[in-house]
């Protein structure tokens, strides 16, 4: 207690206050240290990191085999699953009699040979075969044997790097470390009776208490709810046992906060500039937003980037492996080649019944097939050959330009998305401009008209897609077909969404209907800024309405149009709902393709790479727009 505050404090602190200050600054430093310790503890006790460093608890399939040689029977191999191991979990029971492993009959083999087949020891990350099929006979209660088969995945530990990156990565540890460091520094500065440090400490305590309170409520709910979705009764005991300790941790902080708040203007000294005061205030207010964005945006984005470099899959035991840029290579590899068409008897290009041209197989495909033939079955499973994405006829000639890719569906999704984006944005801009100019002119019922304009915007996108599915039904029962037929525009019902029909136009039409109002709204705001006297002056000079539109409206609307174009283009590039509802999975947009890979085939790593590709596309478009359309902000 020999520390004496330097400089002229407002007043000399009493002995008691000096002890209190030591306690408060100690508390700050302890919080900082606890943050470090908690991070370290979390890393060390993390399940997958422990598996990575110490190996899984029960490695491989978790199965022992013994040879039984009863006197009155043929000798057989008996299976002995280890409790809690994969074999046990898949339903292999003690006493099951082994028949074959991965379709290899075991009769006549020695025990060592059988054990070698299970290959407990050579389960490595490089091994692509992560499961073993066991055929066995199960003795029933009446002594009869029934055949059964189980596919058992092997338990394999992830590498340390993958385990760490999956659970922690960079964002969260960095936040924890920098916060811990700041707390310790704050504690040290506080002992010098520095008023700025004291004020920052108040802020720190305040948000820490709020954060802990939120954490307490959260853990109360998560630990109390029964089952995954809460179908079991709520467990109050468990909920309380997790949340009460967190609430208790708030108490010392509350005391420290109250004390600091009381004495801050009496004991602490030093000046704080207005700028620094404002900065502190601003950051105080920004804390919750930044925390939320770090948690729900930065962290997942980081996860997506990391996962896109792995071959992670949901629902398998196989741990993810780093495969570098393989996913991206598969996604982006493409080749162009020319192919002749198949000639019919007249020497013309043959056509299928629905009118599309039949093409020969190209050299590239031949080469790929040849490669495939020369491969072993293991290699074949991993090999992704170049396949046809699309073929275009070259200007009336008999040859076509063919696009091939390792992942043709993705290439198609890019082309679908780009075509969709271009046509829908152009149409929306035109239509939006017309609507905006209509509701900008004054006429009776304009208010009603503006409300009517907002109807498509107010309907959920997916619901509007479902609605249009009904309107555009491909037979007599579709109201749009009926309308066109009643008007005499078509003779028979059209299939609007079939693969051979005008599906892209239909999709665009649905999206244009849904989003033109939004475009109109944005443009309306721009129109309202244009001063009316400009038009008056032009009228006096005898300029026609059309001329006024091109010399006044369009140039003055240019910045608004630029912003509206950006908003809509970026939105159209990530189109999901309409494609998801109206089309099957063979005609995806980039976003639905991402979704399909993630949810249907569960290839998490690959889907993440698709997500990153979409992100890159959007980034490119943004840069292009900002450079060429030339919008400037502030």
């Amino acid at each position: 207690m020999t520390l004496i505050p330097p400089g002229a404090g407002r007043r000399r602190p009493t002995e008691q206050e000096m002890i209190a200050l030591e306690l408060v600054s100690g508390l700050l430093m302890i919080i900082g240290l606890v943050a470090f310790a908690a991070l370290f503890y979390a890393i060390v006790t993390n399940d997958s990191i422990q598996e990575a460093t110490q190996g899984p608890e029960i490695p491989g399939v978790g199965l022992d085999v013994v040879l039984r040689e009863p006197e009155d029977e043929e000798p057989y191999f008996e299976l002995r699953p280890i409790t809690g191991g994969q074999a046990d979990l898949t339903g292999i029971k003690d006493g099951d009699r082994l028949v074959s492993i991965d379709r290899v009959e075991v009769s006549g083999l020695t025990l060592d040979e059988v054990r070698a087949l299970i290959r407990e020891d050579d389960v490595k990350l490089e091994d692509d075969d992560f499961q073993i099929v066991f055929d066995f006979l199960r003795p029933g209660t009446d002594g009869r044997l029934s055949e059964a088969e189980r596919t058992v995945p092997k338990n394999v530990a992830p590498t340390f790097l993958i385990a760490y990156l999956n659970s922690f990565a960079f964002v969260l540890p960095l936040i924890v470390i920098s916060l811990g460091y700041l707390f310790i520094r704050l504690g040290i500065r506080l002992r010098r009776y520095d008023v700025v440090a004291a004020r920052w400490s108040l802020v720190a305590f305040l948000w820490l208490m709020i954060g802990l309170f939120v954490a307490a409520v959260w853990s109360f709910w998560v630990n109390g709810k029964g089952g995954i979705i809460g179908d079991d009764p709520f467990d109050y005991g468990r909920a309380l046992s997790y949340s009460v300790p967190i609430l208790l941790a708030i108490i010392p902080m509350l005391i420290a906060y109250r004390w600091l708040d009381q004495v801050i203007n009496e004991v602490f000294s030093g000046e704080e500039s207005l700028t620094s005061r404002q900065t502190r205030f601003a950051w105080t207010l920004l804390v919750p937003t930044l925390v939320v964005l770090a948690l729900v945006a930065a962290r997942p984005l980081e996860q997506t980037f990391i996962k896109s470099l792995t071959d992670d899959e949901f629902g398998t035991n196989r741990p993810a492996r780093f495969i570098g840029l393989d996913n991206y290579q598969t996604l982006t590899s493409f080749k162009f080649t020319t192919v002749p068409c198949v000639k019919d008897d007249d020497g013309e290009c043959a056509r299928t019944p629905n009118g599309s041209i039949v093409w020969e197989t190209s050299d590239v495909e031949e080469v790929e097939r040849e490669k495939l033939r020369s491969m072993s079955s293991d290699e074949r499973r991993k090999f992704k050959r170049y396949d046809v994405a699309a073929t275009w006829r070259l200007m009336g000639s008999d040859t076509g330009l063919r696009l091939l890719g390792r992942d043709p569906t993705f290439l198609n999704s890019i082309s679908n998305t780009l075509r969709f984006t271009f046509t829908s944005v152009v149409l929306e801009l035109t239509l939006g401009l017309i609507i905006a100019m209509v509701v900008n002119s004054s006429f009776r019922g304009r208010g009603l008209m503006r409300t009517a304009m907002l109807v498509p915007w107010a309907i959920p996108t997916v619901v509007s897609a479902v609605l249009w599915q009904v309107i555009l039904r491909g037979d007599q029962t579709g109201i749009f077909n009926k309308l066109l037929m009643d008007l005499g525009l078509i003779d028979q019902a059209k299939q609007w969404f079939s693969t051979t029909g005008p599906w892209m136009n239909s999709i665009v039409a649905v999206d244009v209907w849904k989003t033109s109002p939004f475009m109109a709204l944005l443009l309306l705001a721009g129109l309202q800024i244009i001063p009316a006297d400009l038009y008056e002056a032009a009228s006096v000079d005898g300029a026609s309405k059309v001329r006024q539109f091109f010399t006044i409206t369009l140039p003055l609307l240019r910045p608004t149009i630029a912003v509206a174009l950006i908003f809509r283009t970026l939105d159209a590039l990530r189109v999901f709902d309409v494609f998801q509802v109206l089309l099957d999975t063979t005609r995806p947009s980039m976003a639905t393709y991402n979704y399909n890979r993630l949810v249907l085939t569960r290839s998490d790593g690959y889907a993440s790479a698709v997500g990153v590709m979409i992100f890159i596309f959007i980034l490119l478009f943004t840069i292009l727009y900002v450079r060429f359309v030339g919008i400037e902000r502030e």
Binding site: A282, W283, V296, A297, T304, T451, V463, V470, F576
Partner: protein, 280 residues
């Protein structure tokens, strides 16, 4: 004489245009309204502009369907919680960004703007594993947790421009009267921006109410926590036929509350949307 005729033609043309626009924007919804009064088999047999013998059976079915009512409740709950949270947290940030000059202000502002341009789909898989880790997969809490990704940046951005529009004397007067910055914010500026808060909240509510991708991904496994858009898109119907009429009725039920809100706040919505998008 010729000029008058031209003017008349112009007026007729203009009104035709108005009618065309009106028809284009509301006809599909009117049609949904029309088929919602027919039975499913009627709709699947013949297309009609008006129902042959209108009945309320579809609506009755929906209101008696506990699952559907539950999804309505889920949607309302998720959207309300998300919006309340975004408004409170977002108005803090917006005040800091709109009224206080400090180092790093532009950086934060652009980070928030970048979030609005963000493709939600590209963080879906990352978000998926976080939701899994937090043990909230399949619950409505997963949606409340993830929706701020799009509602929060939007709220911050729009409210910032509202705060910027207020005269600077307000805080000075308050400071002279001895109010702390927080009191100034809470007692003076927030009430002043109440209309803006209502508008922003409404827009955020609509975008949360309409959200589909996250709802589909995170509640696919548990019917009890699905929201209305997911329920309508995945309607099982009664029997084997496509439940067209039920879907139409559901569409009407989902859209009418939003439309009523739009009718009441039409002017405010237009102001809010344009403030968020253009002035920024």
């Amino acid at each position: 004489m010729r000029k008058q005729a031209l003017g008349l033609i112009g007026r007729v043309f203009f009104w035709l245009l108005v009618l065309a626009v009106a028809f284009y924007t509301i006809a599909p919804f009117i049609y949904a309204f029309s088929i919602s009064f027919r039975t499913n088999s009627q709709v699947l047999v013949e297309a009609r502009y008006l129902p042959e013998d209108p009945s309320l059976i579809n609506y009755q079915n929906l209101f008696e369907d506990a699952d559907f009512m539950r999804t309505m409740f889920n949607s309302a709950l998720v959207a309300s919680v998300t919006v309340l949270f975004s408004l409170v947290v977002g108005s803090f940030a917006a005040y800091a960004l709109g009224r206080v000059r400090f180092k790093g202000r532009m950086m934060v502002l652009y980070t928030v703007l970048a979030m609005t341009m963000f493709p939600q789909i590209s963080i879906l898989s990352g978000l998926f594993s976080i939701v899994n880790d937090l043990d909230i997969y399949g619950s409505t809490v997963a949606l409340m947790f993830t929706y701020p990704i799009f509602t929060l940046p939007f709220t911050v951005w729009v409210l910032t421009s509202f705060f910027q529009g207020l005269p600077a004397e307000i805080e000075q007067a308050a400071l002279v009267d001895g109010a702390t910055p927080f009191q100034t914010f809470w007692r003076i500026l927030v009430p002043l921006t109440a209309p803006a808060l209502v508008t922003t909240g409404l827009l955020a509510f609509i975008s949360a109410w309409n959200e589909y991708l996250f709802a589909l991904t995170f509640t696919l496994v548990s019917k009890t926590s699905q929201t209305v858009p997911v329920a309508i898109a995945n309607f099982g119907g009664y029997g084997f036929e496509v439940p067209v009429a039920d879907r139409a009725a559901a569409t009407v039920i989902v859209t009418v509350p939003v439309l009523v809100l739009v009718l009441i706040f039409q002017r405010r919505i237009i102001e809010g949307l344009t403030a968020g998008a253009v002035k920024g």
